[in-house]
Symmetry: C2
Subunit: 340 residues, 2 copies
């Protein structure tokens, strides 16, 4: 390849005509044998397959796509620049799709609607068989426009349209696992420190944590949820505020691992023992944070890779058998480390 | 789409025959007008383009690929599961390629040679115009096999074959920026704590740091490089070891931000003021680490997104005009924060 002119096939690449010649059949027959279409004697098909093997022939997928109407390609669209949350979802999906012969076209929209439209047009032009959309937030998002009838699955960030297929994390189950673990280890004065109230992840986990406490006739240690930022600095500040209000707090359930790490640092620097005096639970199982924390954090793992994998499987089902609308929930896991 | 049978075009999707009919030309002429091939009167071509516009016709890219021999698709292969280092490289490449009409096929090999071969066969079958390979390490890697003559560019992890095209970070320049910044702010007893000696990134940055010190007739504060792990825990342990050997150390240059954060924590917990008594410089500008550190870290930014962007541009050049072997180096930036 030394110029922009049409590329000729490499000399070493066998053509369908070579296969046909070796098998002693017409090019049309060779093509039908390879596509599994048309009627022919089994011996004829076998002669073609033997010739394919002998010549190391590899069919041109673009020609195959024209024939089958399928591109064996799926668009993976991420709206947040491939961050910490979308990456494992993408990997889970890529793993499930790539195990077969399906390739993944990566589209990063960076939350920009013009980029999203550009990528969507491109995916439509390339006749993708389906699209997976993911983002960093668990808040519902409006469905993609102009892609009918391409099957689409929304992963992590569900679609606002109930006629779509979405795969989401079980925030209710995650909050329940965290609070029940603290209750089971004898904690009863539990504070909740989390991210911004306008994030569904913060609101949902807080609401479900309170539900679990109420079932044990308990409430939050400080009588309220401490909404703030998803940062260590907020965790440190909030720990101080909680202990001013409720000095007998014996556990913190935090909305993410960064907040939990900040809480653990603030407690250590006040001379409080974690978990001896106060237990700390995070959320996300982000290894960099959870393992570097002193002590390492007990946390909730959303299994984002599994969310990606299930999204891929639901997409393959939709491509093969038509879409079945609905929201699929992937369970969280409790990962116990030294902070509880 | 409700079954696996060949998908019929959506009723709303105009066909080339519709374009030809509206323009009053044959399908062959319409095709030539769209592909820019064949001789015809400018008015004829314009009539076809007007019909395309009027009908909202979008050409089938698979048919186009058969015609032009180009798939307008590039493989992006990452060998480390899309980690913290490969992600910005992928994004930079995707941005540079996606701005045009080139799509990106994502392949994640997870360091597994069988997965790599599977993905490569798939990329060859799909007639990709080129391949970008990236990984998490700066150590040279063996070139991909069996892809001739597909142009390939190695990003971040260079190819061991000098006949290949590689785009790498300027580790020498990065180490120089860090040490010269410390010297410029009056530090002369500088310790170096870094990752494992068998990583090129650790060895190269250490060697270049020593070179810069020697040019000022200085050596490392402890007389040696402290090789260990890329972790906060190692940074904390190493800070203690350095201060035992050389209590008058006035600065730490660290091989990554996690080590630097560990050093900063250990110094604070010993009651030492950063940067008042001891300055700390990290490497990577990994925002989660550098900003959460107390104080926030001065660090070296490798500009991984730029490495991806340059790799994409070199690949486009190679596709259009033939590959020009060589190693391209992307400069680092010094990001000054409160730790110096």
């Amino acid at each position: 390849m030394t110029d922009a002119a049409p590329r000729s096939p490499s000399p070493s690449r066998a053509k369908l005509a070579d296969v046909a010649a070796l098998a002693g059949v017409s090019v049309g027959t060779a093509s039908k044998a390879l596509n599994g279409s048309g009627r022919m004697r089994p011996e004829t098909r076998q002669r073609v397959l033997d010739a394919v093997e002998a010549l190391g022939f590899r069919p041109n997928q673009h020609a195959q796509s024209l024939h089958t109407g399928r591109s064996w390609t799926v668009g993976l669209m991420t709206t947040d620049g491939i961050g910490r949350f979308s990456t494992p979802v993408l990997l889970g999906a890529e793993d499930a799709l790539g195990a077969g012969k399906i390739s993944v076209l990566l589209c990063d929209t960076r939350g920009d609607s013009i980029r999203e439209q550009h990528h969507l047009r491109n995916l439509v032009d390339r006749r993708v068989d389906g699209i997976i959309v993911t983002g960093r937030r668990t808040d519902p998002r409006p469905p993609l426009k102009g892609i009918e009838p391409i099957p689409t699955v929304y992963a992590l960030s569900p679609s606002t349209d109930p006629a779509d297929i979405s795969v989401v994390s079980d925030d209710r189950g995650g909050a329940r696992l965290a609070v029940e673990h603290l209750l089971a280890t004898g904690r009863t004065r539990i504070a909740h420190v989390t991210g911004p109230e306008h994030h569904a992840a913060a609101r949902d986990r807080a609401r479900h944590a309170v539900e679990v406490l109420e079932r044990s006739s308990l409430g939050l240690a400080t009588g309220r949820v401490h909404y703030g930022e998803w940062s260590e600095a907020w965790g440190r500040r909030a720990a101080d505020a909680v202990l001013r209000t409720a000095p007998d707090t014996d556990a913190f359930f935090c909305g993410n691992d960064q907040i939990a790490r900040g809480v653990a640092d603030a407690l250590r620097e006040r001379g409080l023992d974690v978990p001896g005096e106060i237990a700390v639970v995070g959320y996300d199982n982000w290894d960099t944070m959870a393992l570097a924390s002193r002590p390492p954090l007990t946390t909730i793992d959303m299994d984002l890779t599994e969310i990606g994998r299930i999204a891929a499987l639901k997409l393959l089902e939709a491509i093969d058998s038509g879409p079945v609308p609905g929201v699929h929930t992937v369970a969280c896991r409790l990962v116990v480390r030294e902070s509880t």
